[in-house]
């Protein structure tokens, strides 16, 4: 309707643009999209170019499964870091996922509108608190607490999971909120009208309808947890051993990279990029799993 209102006053240029519009605009968009994507491709290529050669030289299997990380002696094995990253990420996902999703459900389903307009921005605000501040508070408050009450050095899988869980909370919450809000209101009204309670509606209708968005929220949150560096360095302890309990210190792939990158040269530096390659692959695997799970579920649902 509004489009037709503007018609009479168009200049020849505007009219010409109008005729060519779709082609013109879509080609501009294509150029921009390609530049963005090529940026991402270039950085991916950069990581692989720097990291792959040394990985092949050491042997992929040995690089991934050996526990000897003595760069000065030419021993590159990152098995403890892989286990460390997995442990910390799993812990963070449990804490941050539960908290984040809980917050999102409360915000969208069980919360008066005025409270939403305060809570949602304040949770998003927390995404802006620097990771170094989170890490710092972890070191100053959380680590001594764990050391005194639970034992161990305090710097541990537990401490890193908690810090990372809290850090990924804003990401998980705000994206989940958007996904939950995008569910058409009719679904909810329909379910309520059928006699479902509010919680039943949430669980069986809204959470299911917004699944792809929620999975995206979890993936992005998980990405933040796996990829987080500064906070983890501060609270993880960074030992070279595979952690044997949640109170044991741990070194993650990211902290391995960030700890040593500033000083590394030659093969050591390349091995750190190779650690980045492994990280990339791990995230790829996690994402693939998440995608397949969500796709299979939705297929089963549509089949039933």
């Amino acid at each position: 309707m509004r489009a037709s209102q503007g018609m009479p006053k168009r200049s020849p240029l505007g009219a010409w643009l109008d005729r060519k519009q779709d082609l013109f605009i879509s080609s501009i968009l294509l150029v921009v999209a390609l530049s963005a994507i090529s940026g991402l491709v270039v950085i991916t290529a950069f990581i692989f170019k720097e990291g792959l050669p040394i990985m092949l030289q050491v042997g992929v299997g040995k690089f991934v499964s050996s526990s000897d990380w003595y760069p000065a002696e030419g021993h590159f094995g990152i098995f403890p870091m892989i286990m460390g990253s997995l442990a910390v990420t799993a812990g963070a996902l449990v804490i941050g996922g539960v908290l984040g999703l809980g917050c999102a459900v409360v915000l969208t389903q069980f919360c008066p509108r005025w409270a939403v307009s305060i809570l949602k921005p304040s949770i998003e605000l927390l995404a802006g608190i620097p990771s170094v501040v989170y890490g710092f508070i972890g070191v100053v408050i959380l680590v001594p607490m764990i050391r005194v009450h639970l034992g161990g050095p305090g710097l541990s899988v537990l401490a890193s999971s908690i810090v990372l869980g809290i850090m990924m909370l804003p990401t998980v919450t705000s994206i989940s909120v958007d996904a939950l809000q995008a569910v058409p209101k009719a679904y909810r009204d329909g379910s309520i009208a059928l006699g479902a309670t509010h919680w039943q509606t949430t669980r069986m209708v809204i959470l299911k309808a917004s699944r792809s968005g929620l999975v995206a929220a979890m993936i992005l949150g998980m990405g933040r947890a796996v990829g987080e560096t500064m906070a983890v360095i501060m609270v993880a302890g960074n030992t070279l051993d595979v952690p044997d309990s949640i109170l044991a210190p741990v070194r993650t792939l990211t902290s391995n990279i960030a700890l040593e990158m500033g000083y590394a040269a030659g093969d050591h530096r390349k091995a750190l990029f190779a650690t980045g390659v492994v990280l990339f692959v791990i995230i790829m695997i996690l994402n693939t799993i998440a995608l397949t799970v969500s796709r299979r579920r939705s297929r089963r649902k549509s089949g039933a």
Binding site: P121, I129, D178, I283
Partner: protein, 311 residues
């Protein structure tokens, strides 16, 4: 039927929200799955969820209060207006405030439009294909790459190869690359969530694709896109590892985008980790948190206004 009678008050509670009449129809499918009566389950779950939400909010509040209590007493007008001296032990943070705004602002100005346009292209101008799925997948993977690798890339590519030097522009471009996946993904999610019917109606009324995108789709997707952008502003402000090597550590007022500038987060990192000065570190953190608060409020204000205008 008695079960419904009990659950009625709860519905009446929420009724104001959605205007749905109290349910009168039994739902046998649910009874099979739930041993606990639904209304009791509702109360338990809602209580639990509120507890979760409140504990999250409490943790977050604690962090802010902790920083404020420790830092605000040291935040004086001089602290805000002076440059640091003696490696940060004396003086203030005024160059860092400026540097933070310059680097993060420029980064979002670059990444925002490009990211949103890419998302539009991926959702509205191409058909869902292997390629788009691959791009989305790649963006997800890049979101998990540690920022220090972006920093190294920025150092090698922007600062060295392109000859931009260690400068605000190098830092901003690096940050832009870093937040691009987040902006693309959140915008895509928001655009995809716009009901297909809107598009059909728009086409049905004879609009071109571009008119449909700008007047119908973007308008509905705006809050979601805004969320992505606000998140990226936050991420840009709080980044340290990627900026150490690209925008650098110089604690002086930059005179152009080709000057190096230290951000508040980096300043805090140096002060606290090298153990230079704890009071100054807390004060810097307090300023940082306040700055983020202000920027977010501004972003919300703009978005509100924008949404109000287009609607």
């Amino acid at each position: 039927m008695t079960r419904q009678a009990i659950s009625n008050p709860l519905h009446a509670d929420e009724g104001a929200d959605n205007g749905a009449p109290p349910p009168q129809i039994n739902a046998p499918r649910h009874r099979r799955q739930l041993r606990i009566p639904p209304d009791v389950a509702q109360r338990i779950v809602v209580g639990g969820l509120w507890a979760i939400a409140m504990s999250a909010v409490a943790v977050l509040l604690f962090i802010i209060v902790f920083i404020m209590v420790k830092g605000l007493p040291h935040v004086t007008p001089e602290f805000l207006l002076q440059a640091p001296a003696k490696g940060g032990r004396l003086g203030g943070v005024s160059p860092m405030i400026f540097g933070t705004i310059a680097v993060a602002g420029l980064a979002v100005l670059i990444a925002g439009p490009i990211g949103v346009i890419t998302a539009i292209y991926l959702t509205e101008y191409t058909r869902e294909s292997k390629l788009t799925a691959f791009i989305r997948f790649g963006a997800d993977c890049l979101a998990g790459i540690p920022s220090i690798i972006f920093g190294l890339f920025g150092f090698v590519f922007f600062a060295d190869t392109l000859g931009l030097g260690i400068s605000i522009i190098s830092g901003a471009l690096t940050l832009a690359l870093m937040v691009l996946p987040t902006i693309i993904r959140t915008s895509e999610e928001a655009i995809r969530a716009v009901p297909a019917a809107f598009r059909d109606v728009s086409f049905g009324l004879g609009s071109t694709r571009w008119q449909m995108v700008t007047r119908v789709v973007l308008r509905s997707a705006l809050p979601g896109i805004g969320t992505g952008i606000v998140l990226s502003i936050g991420r840009s402000i709080s980044e340290t590892a990627a900026l150490m090597l690209t925008s650098g550590m110089v604690a002086r007022h930059p005179s152009s985008v080709f000057d190096s500038a230290r951000t508040l987060a980096l300043h805090f990192f140096t002060l606290s980790r090298e153990g230079i000065s704890m009071p100054k570190a807390y004060a810097t953190a307090a300023v940082l948190v306040l700055a983020i608060l202000m920027i977010n409020l501004l972003a919300y204000w703009f978005m509100r206004r924008f949404i109000a205008r287009v609607r």
